[in-house]
């Protein structure tokens, strides 16, 4: 068992749930509210120094009773230690959780992927958009267990919506604001740019 678990219990008390060991890796469950504090502590405390966020992912089990888990895989490059932090969420309830982008910049796209596939909202994320599916994808979040394998719409409707999507819509607003394709953007993205959400308008220089 990773010694970080005892240190976590000593510091955060009841916010730390059960801990277990699986295939040599330590898994510790953390309450949703304490997540950001715990992660900041794990990153910044000299004895912990989990400076590398390997991955963020989520798991929904086929067993309807089991909660949905968000998994953070941490590694300390200096101490050569791994720690897996899990947060349990109720699939039927509120799927909001604090973002860790401010701690690890690399969490940006990882959290976007989890949002895209599972519909988990990361509070404080700078640019929470879909990353694998296109922005106007309307069928839901594909890796949820209630999502049918072939999607919710008929194939013809899927083809129609896919063909109606703008290939430019896969870029961030920052990239789009400097692109020549600005005039061809969908109206809602132009509006978001006009409001100054991200990036700058082509003619504002």
């Amino acid at each position: 068992m990773n010694r970080s678990v005892d240190a976590l219990r000593a510091t955060f008390g009841p916010a730390i749930g059960r801990a277990l060991e699986s295939c040599g890796d330590t898994i510790v469950y953390v309450g949703r509210e304490a997540l950001r504090d715990v992660m900041a502590w794990l990153r910044d405390t000299p004895q912990q120094t989990y400076d590398y966020l390997v991955d963020i992912t989520a798991v929904e089990y086929r067993d309807r009773e089991r909660p949905l888990e968000v998994v953070y895989i941490l590694r300390s490059l200096t101490r050569r230690t791994d720690l897996r932090v899990k947060v349990e969420l109720d699939p039927q309830g509120d799927l909001t959780i604090d973002s860790v982008v401010s701690l690890w910049r690399g969490a940006d796209w990882l959290e976007r992927e989890v949002y895209d596939m599972f519909g988990i909202t990361f509070r404080g994320h700078p640019d929470l958009r879909r990353i694998l599916m296109w922005e106007t994808y309307a069928e839901g979040h594909p890796l949820r267990k209630d999502f049918p394998l072939r999607g919710r719409f008929s194939r013809a409707e899927q083809v129609r919506q896919a063909l109606a999507a703008q290939p430019e819509a896969h870029y961030s607003l920052e990239e789009l604001s400097i692109a020549a394709a600005y005039e061809e953007l969908p109206a809602d993205m132009k509006e978001r740019l006009r409001r100054g959400e991200r990036g700058r308008l082509p003619d504002s220089e």
């Binding site: 599916m133 394998l149 194939r155 409707e157 899927q158 129609r160 999507a165």
Partner: protein
């Protein structure tokens, strides 16, 4: 010319016969030029693209069939070779590339995934690129061997050589998307995309 008209073979034929022969000659010249210098636009998205590269490289070498110059710009391409699976997110991209290619243009669908969706009968994958662009030659295989792709190219040669500039029906018109934004009627797309093989045991509502 005078000698040809007075020759034994032509004499006594209707004037249309001569015109038809002339048309054949023009068709032969045009089609041979087209078929023997196809410039491919590779659209490689998966493992089929590896076989495509093998086909282009020295051992199989499709330059032997006039495909010396690969056009990585649709503006200078004749044949779009879709090598690999096509997710819905790439559907507008391949459609735009196809629209950007000048006429005359042809499409080869290489491999099981491009032709039918293959094993990927799921929410993310186009079930056959013929729901998006018209396809001339389907090459089966997962992935097809280079010989398979070359055979498909030769079939395309055959098809091109059978075309005629003088057809009453203009066969090579642009085929824009209809007002619904689709290439085919929705029922037809649904029919093309029907599950088959092992995937018949899965259901939309599952």
């Amino acid at each position: 010319m005078k000698r040809v008209i007075e020759s034994k073979e032509v004499a006594g034929q209707s004037p249309n016969y001569l015109l038809a022969k002339l048309q054949d000659l023009v068709d032969w010249a045009v089609n041979s030029s087209r078929a023997n210098s196809l410039w491919p636009m590779p659209f490689g998205t998966a493992c089929c693209a590896i076989e495509f590269m093998a086909t282009a490289a020295s051992r199989y070498d499709f330059a032997r069939f006039g495909m010396e110059r690969q056009a990585f710009s649709p503006r200078q391409a004749d044949v779009l070779i879709c090598a690999g699976r096509l997710p819905f997110k790439l559907a507008p991209v391949i459609r735009r590339i196809y629209d950007q290619m000048p006429q005359p243009k042809w499409v080869i669908s290489m491999g099981a995934c491009a032709s039918t969706g293959g094993i990927f009968d799921n929410y993310a994958m186009v079930q056959g690129i013929d729901t998006i662009v018209p396809v001339d030659v389907y090459v089966p295989g997962c992935p097809p061997r280079p010989e398979g792709l070359l055979y498909g190219v030769l079939l395309l040669h055959k098809k091109i050589k059978g075309e005629s500039l003088f057809d009453r029906v203009p066969r090579r018109d642009e085929q824009p998307l209809d007002d619904r934004g689709l290439r085919l009627p929705p029922e037809q797309i649904d029919e093309i995309s029907e599950p088959f093989g092992n995937s018949i045991h899965q259901f939309r509502s599952a």
